[in-house]
Amino acid sequence: MVRYQNGDERAFNVLMSRYQGRVWGYIYRHCYNRDRAAELFQDSFYKLIRAAASFDPNRRFSTWLFTIVRNTLIDSYKKRRLKTLSMSMPLEPGDTKRTFGDTLADPESADGEKTARQKQLEGRLQQALEKLNPDQREVFVLRQFEGLPFADIADLQGCPENTAKTRMRYALEALRRELEDFA
């Protein structure tokens, strides 16, 4: 990031390749909507680009990045007053056959590489995540799927590290109950 601050355009390519999947996963697992996730993904990175000059090199980049993404998510929630989508919601208004749950199993279902069980698990996971407290869900997604250390998550959430671990512990316990037949 410092290199990008100093005018190295290619440095941003490295950043993107390193973090795009994690940011995408974090956003996607919050909204479970590809279009919306794409919009939030773009907004987040645009914000990051605009704020690049203000990045403090003494701070961890991942924490800074996820703080921006998280704030973007919160802002979008505030703006749209949207809650996470329900699995039982119809995919299109009036569409009684397909629900969001059907699409969530695999955002890239077209590639056909994933097994039906994985799709099922993904769908069930989303349902289970919906039931979680938002903070617990956030900790779980960031730690489980995005690999952020608990210290960074705590920094992001503005709470002690042990609180983040406690949230994770509750999230795991709840998910284990929800996904018992998969485990």
Binding site: F12, A37, P134, Y170, F182
Partner: protein
Amino acid sequence: MWDGAEAPTPWMCLDGLGMSERNDITGHEPDIEVVDYLYGEMTPEHRAAFERRLQDEPALKAEVARLQALKIRLDGLPSSEPPPELVERVLAEAHAACRRRERQETGWLDRLAESLRWLVRPQAGIALAAMLVVAVGIYMAREAKQPTRPGTPEQAREEMRPLPSKPADEPSAVVPALPGMAEKGAEQGDAGVATAVAEGQPEGKKEGKKEGKREGVGAGFAPVREDASGADLHRKAAGDMGKDGKAEQAAAEAPAAEAGAGDFRSTSGTPAEAGGRAGSGSTRRPGCRGRGRGAGRRGRARGRGCGDGRGQAEGRCSGRRDESGGGNDGQWWSRAGVGRRTCSRRDEGEGYRERRCGSGRGLERHRHAARLRADQRT
């Protein structure tokens, strides 16, 4: 262990779920060491100690095993990637922003060069040369206007002869010249006396007389120089005193010439640059206001904005009246005011300021006075 997890968070507010963080139905304190163990956030020593504990606690071991199985299942889920076109768009924006930033950082030099580029055009050179010529011309014209003609005292007296009185309809000072004042003043040169008396300020009257006389005596009948110098002295005194808030004293001591200056200043009540310089403390003296207004009216006729102080004018007004008595209706004595107005200039031996301050007549007179002063110095 449970450290403030119930605290409200943005997510809770937004989702409105209000669900408790503590959604563990068992209600027991969670063992966060399990989390550290599962996600490898333990030191080797800590990990070894935890594994020993697992051996001792089968229930904990079973729970860890279940969670580990779940984690393995979840780890197997493929991670999704953003659409490539989306990534391309973001990268394009990042590169564009980088270039914009570079342009901003180096752009000011380009902009400066661009803004100065016009200087190399021939029209610009011609314009600059023309401006230079005009500036030199103005300077030389000013130099030519400097009083250079030496004058004898007789010439000066002749030139300093009072101008005709102002028209009756012209607004004048509050206090009219007293009968016989002109003659008396002409003889004594202490116009300030008359004004002070007329204004009915006992202290000022007394002091004014004293000062005025001194001035007048010194001036004699070729009072231009003497008056001027006396005016200088008193102007200074009045100014200083006025600054100190000794308005009354200042006013009383202000001689005619000084008062004349005040006359100018107290013109229209609009702020004037010189207002503060003239010992405006005299505004605190209520009794002077009437005079100040009178003087102001007069000043207004000359179009000078003076300022804040009617009172400011008052001391000088009375003085001016003195001078009026001594000289004429104060019109040409206002040159003294002009002189006061131009005190700094006066020291330089030129009377330009009065052109702006005073009437044309006053200007002429004062110009001679300044010339004579300059002669005297030399």
